[in-house]
């Protein structure tokens, strides 16, 4: 299986974290939290699109609400493929970082 890119990984993790409430706005907030940077709203959709096409996530439609101008919410959920992809990334990360102490790359004080 193809290894996820870094951004795909972060978005996927965010979706998992959000559980049943993952959609454009919340995903963006999670990603921003993780990266610590303001993240343009429009930028998440290409990743979502790619993840969906790759079969990592599936979508469902929620009820329309007034605060969204009468529009549906598209909710994202991890598929089994998505979960195993995350598991694989986690494993790869673990192996790649194995034995490297957290302070190794800190600047000397």
């Amino acid at each position: 299986m193809r290894l996820l890119t870094r951004m795909e990984e972060i978005v996927l993790v965010s979706i998992w974290r959000l559980g049943g409430n993952a959609y454009g706005i919340t995903i963006r907030e999670e990603v921003a939290k993780a990266t610590g940077e303001e993240f343009p709203l429009g930028a998440v959709y290409p990743f979502l699109s790619r993840l969906q096409k790759g079969g990592y996530v599936i979508t469902s439609t929620s009820q329309a609400t007034a605060e969204r101008g009468g529009r549906h919410k598209i909710l994202y959920r991890l598929t089994d493929t998505g979960k195993s992809a995350l598991a694989e990334v986690q494993e790869v990360n673990r192996r790649a970082w194995d034995g490297i102490p957290a302070r190794a790359f800190r600047k000397p004080a």
């Binding site: 959609y23 454009g24 706005i25 343009p40 709203l41 429009g42 959709y45 979502l48 699109s49 439609t61 329309a64 007034a66 605060e67 969204r68 101008g69 009468g70 529009r71 549906h72 919410k73 598209i74």
Partner: protein, 877 residues
């Protein structure tokens, strides 16, 4: 559910529209929510600004994407299109050339039509200017339409009707002799007008003051070209010109020459009140009067105004005055005529194409426009059908390309766009070529059409936009079929080389061929009918000898010396005879006639011609009964009639018994002394009407002189010398009758010539198309032909196989076209009283012509296909 006020709709819409993530990802809703959250947290203004920032940030990237991708694909499509055109050079040439020819024809006619419709529109107030027209009942029940109104009507309207803001009469004074020093000319276009003329019309003044130029009773305005004749480059303002060797007029202004698209074409203007036609009284409501133009208050209704004018005019015309004739019967007739009269207002801008005078409602300019537009449209239609047909045929060759494109993921939309785009591009090339041809052939077209059309007239925005729209439309129509049909086919089928053209497609192609050849056949038949009719008219026996006859206008007082001139002429050995006639072609006016033994209340209009002795002898008209005018009978001068054969018919008598009967017309009364054989005294195509000639040497307008054949130049010099001896102060003018005769056919000959050119082009284009189509068919059947040859088919057999199919369709086209052509052309012929019959062989000839073209184009391809080596054609798999 309603959006809160102040939500940035535009930004959201743009984001949704351009992001492309729209509903599939719920982005629209996400943006809305994002905006609301921001608005709740930091205020609506901040939120809106943030939204705008997002849009601004997203747009450039998006646009770049669109441009890069569409640019790449455009370049690719363009390259494919050019390669395709280049690869099939012959086909491209036929396709583009054919359409270009059709477009060129259409462009020429467009130029023509725009010129015709531009008439009189250059006046600033054109939309509120009208010419008054009078519609009168005639004694024999028809109505006659004239554009001359009683002289006092214009001034009366201006005084009494608030809607009429201004008026001007305009009467063309025929042939005034103008003299300045030793320069003397007859000016044929002198208009007697009112001061209002310069106010309501926008003819620009080069010299002089518009407001006062016509104020003096002796003022005179010349056009630039007229002024140049008398004054050269000197300033004519304030100089005097002598008119008719009698009155001095002072030049008070110089006008620019009226543009060619003005229906008022004058050389000089003089004031109406002081210079009018001889023998006219401009205060009389009974005189025939002059053209009268009015300017109405803007937005007033012309029909209402016309009704008011009718009432006023009738009231004034019926007022008793000394102008009324004393004969009570005549008075009753005139009063009845006035009671039945009505005045209408013809908008100035419609005069050129809709104006008419006389009893029939024909307008030659509009007829020409309709005829030529029809012809040009047919040629354009043939060219378009051709274009479509070839584009459809060719696209089948592209089936493989389309299959491949679909396989690698082309969307149907882009395939359709590609084919439409290619067709539009090809049509565009044809358009450019057509424009080139237009520039190249404009001078020849001007000769053919007798106009001075300039390219500048059409080089404007509406033309460019219209041209682009037409090209686009033709391209789309030509491309739509292949685009839709081919792009919908399944790639697997196409790539396997399955049947690319179903029966539907072949049927379409054949229908198009039938229509093309049918239209060509109609044009060919029309061409033949027009040519034969002109030929027929030209060779009609006129009833008099038209050769070696000249006529000399007796203008500006020279009529009084007609006797002396005639006596001097008769002393010349090379002059065979001299007589006098009313104006050209003997047309006088028609009057109600009465005669001895008249039964019932039949009213009959009889043409009325004032002539001289020797009329019959000089013109060489035959006599059916009785005798010619003779000086031996004292009463022959003014109290005797020579009539044509139509008059006895009218009286219900034969020619011999009509002689001696008393006859009365237009106040002249006397016996009929002789009956002339019918001769064409009006247009040759018109029916010969009854005509009565009597002698009145005071009303001579033309001297007609018969010269000795074979010595024309010398004889002409003799006539000129005679004129100088009698009229030393008047220029000598003459016209040959046969030249005038030829001029009668000029309009019809023009139609004939244009028909010839256009019919030729139509057949050529249709032939070109068939040539391309046949090439295509032969190519598609290469393998079949190879197999046939291997199995022993002869070349002749193959040629027959390939040609017969097309020949069948061309024949069918002709059969369908014949009734159409027959109906159209009998309609055209109906306006001639004497017509050449529409011969059956014209149809046969048109059919044969189409067939020859079809056989030549198809046969060439068939022959080539049949000569090909079968080994090569079968091996190409």
């Amino acid at each position: 559910m309603k959006r809160s006020a102040g939500s940035p709709r535009l930004s959201l819409w743009l984001l949704e529209r351009f992001s492309g993530w729209g509903d599939d990802y719920g982005a629209g809703g996400d943006f809305e929510e994002y905006y609301r959250a921001l608005a709740a947290e930091r205020g609506a203004r901040h939120a809106r600004r943030a939204c705008r920032r997002q849009v601004a940030a997203a747009l450039p990237g998006h646009l770049k994407n669109v441009v890069i991708w569409s640019d790449a694909m455009l370049k690719h499509y363009f390259r494919v299109a050019v390669r395709n055109l280049w690869k099939h050079k012959g086909y491209s040439f036929i396709n583009i050339g054919g359409l270009a020819i059709g477009l060129t024809c259409a462009l020429f006619i467009l130029l023509w039509v725009r010129d015709e419709t531009s008439y009189d529109r250059f006046h600033a107030d054109a939309s509120s200017l009208y010419r008054m027209e009078l519609d009168l009942p005639t004694p024999n029940g028809t109505r006659i339409h004239v554009d001359s109104m009683p002289y006092p009507l214009g001034p009366a309207l201006e005084a009494e009707m608030p809607e009429v803001l201004d008026f001007s009469r305009a009467e063309n004074l025929p042939n005034r002799l103008f003299r300045h020093g030793d320069k003397a000319f007859y000016e044929t276009r002198v208009y007697a007008v009112d001061p209002g003329f310069l106010r309501i019309f926008s003819f620009p003044l080069v010299r002089g003051d518009r407001a006062t130029a016509l104020a003096r009773p002796d003022s005179l305005l010349l056009t630039e070209s007229a002024a140049a004749k008398y004054f050269g480059t000197a300033d004519p303002l304030g100089s005097t010109l002598t008119i008719d060797n009698a009155r001095d007029l002072v030049v008070t202004g110089v006008l620019k020459d009226p543009p060619p698209n003005s229906s008022l074409r004058f050389g000089a203007l003089v004031p109406m009140e002081s210079v009018v036609a001889p023998n006219r009284r401009i205060d009389s409501w009974q005189e025939p009067g002059a053209s009268t133009f009015v300017r109405l208050r803007p937005r007033s209704d012309a029909a209402t105004a016309a009704a008011k004018i009718t009432g006023l005019a009738k009231r004034r015309m019926l007022e008793p005055s000394s102008d009324w004739p004393s004969d009570p019967k005549l008075r009753r007739d005139i009063a009845a005529m006035i009671q039945g009269a009505s005045v209408s207002l013809m908008p100035l801008t419609r005069i050129r194409l809709y104006g008419f005078t006389g009893t029939d409602q024909r307008n030659a300019a509009r007829e020409a426009v309709v005829q030529f537009s029809g012809i040009a449209l047919i040629v354009l239609l043939i060219a378009c059908l051709n274009f479509m047909n070839l584009a459809t045929a060719r696209s089948v060759r592209r089936a493989r390309e389309i299959g491949l494109r679909k396989t690698v993921g082309a969307r149907r939309k882009s395939l359709v766009a590609q084919h439409l785009g290619e067709a539009v591009l090809t049509a565009g090339l044809a358009g450019l070529l057509a424009f080139g041809l237009l520039v190249l052939f404009l001078p020849s077209f001007n000769v053919l059409s007798g106009k001075a059309l300039a390219l500048g007239a059409i080089l404007d925005v509406p033309f460019a936009a219209g041209g682009a729209a037409v090209i686009l439309l033709i391209g789309l129509l030509a491309g739509i079929y292949p685009a839709l049909v081919l792009s919908s086919s399944r790639p697997a089928g196409i790539l396997k080389g399955g049947p690319a053209g179903g029966p539907a497609r072949t049927l379409l192609r054949k229908t198009l061929v039938v229509v093309q050849f049918g239209l060509s056949a109609v044009l060919l038949v029309a061409m033949g009918v027009v040519a034969r009719q002109i030929d027929y008219l030209r060779h009609t026996s006129l009833g008099y000898g038209k050769d070696q006859l000249i006529y000399v206008p007796m203008r500006g007082g020279t009529a009084s010396a007609y006797e002396a001139f005639k006596a001097d002429l008769l002393r010349q050995p090379r002059v065979l005879g001299v007589t006098a006639t009313p104006p050209t072609r003997f047309t006088g006016f028609s009057f109600a006639a009465e005669w001895e033994g008249q039964t019932g209340r039949t009213k009959a209009l009889v043409g009325f011609a004032a002539v001289d002795f020797d009329f019959v002898e000089t013109l060489q008209i035959g006599l059916a009964a009785g005798r010619s005018f003779s000086r031996d009978f004292a009463l022959d001068e003014g109290r005797a009639f020579l009539v044509n054969e139509e008059v006895p018919k009218l009286m219900g008598l034969d020619a011999a018994s009509a002689v001696g009967k008393r006859f009365k017309v237009a106040g002249v009364e006397g016996p009929i002394v002789g009956v002339m054989r019918n001769f064409h005294y009006q247009q040759v195509g018109d029916a010969i009407g009854p005509l009565a000639a009597f002698i009145d040497r005071k009303r001579v307008q033309f001297a007609v002189v018969r010269l000795r054949a074979g010595e024309i130049p010398a004889a002409l010099e003799d006539v000129r010398a005679s004129w100088r001896r009698v009229h030393p102060f008047h220029p000598f003018e003459h016209r040959f009758l046969d030249e005038d005769f030829a001029a009668m056919f000029r309009a019809d000959e023009r139609t004939g010539a244009l028909l010839k050119v256009f019919a030729g082009l139509a057949v050529a284009v249709a032939g070109l198309g068939l040539f391309g189509l046949a090439a295509f068919t032969a190519e598609r059947r290469t393998k079949e032909i190879g197999v046939r040859k291997v199995l022993g088919a002869s070349s002749a057999g193959i040629v027959r196989l390939l040609s017969l199919e097309f020949v069948k369709w061309v024949l069918a086209a002709n059969v369908l076209a014949w009734p159409v052509a027959y109906l159209v052309m009998s309609g055209w012929l109906r306006r001639f009283a004497y017509r050449a019959p529409i011969a059956w062989w014209l149809f046969a000839a048109a059919g044969a012509g189409g067939l020859v073209v079809a056989l030549l184009s198809v046969g060439f391809q068939a022959l080539r296909a049949s000569q090909a080596d079968p080994v090569r054609s079968l091996r190409y798999e």
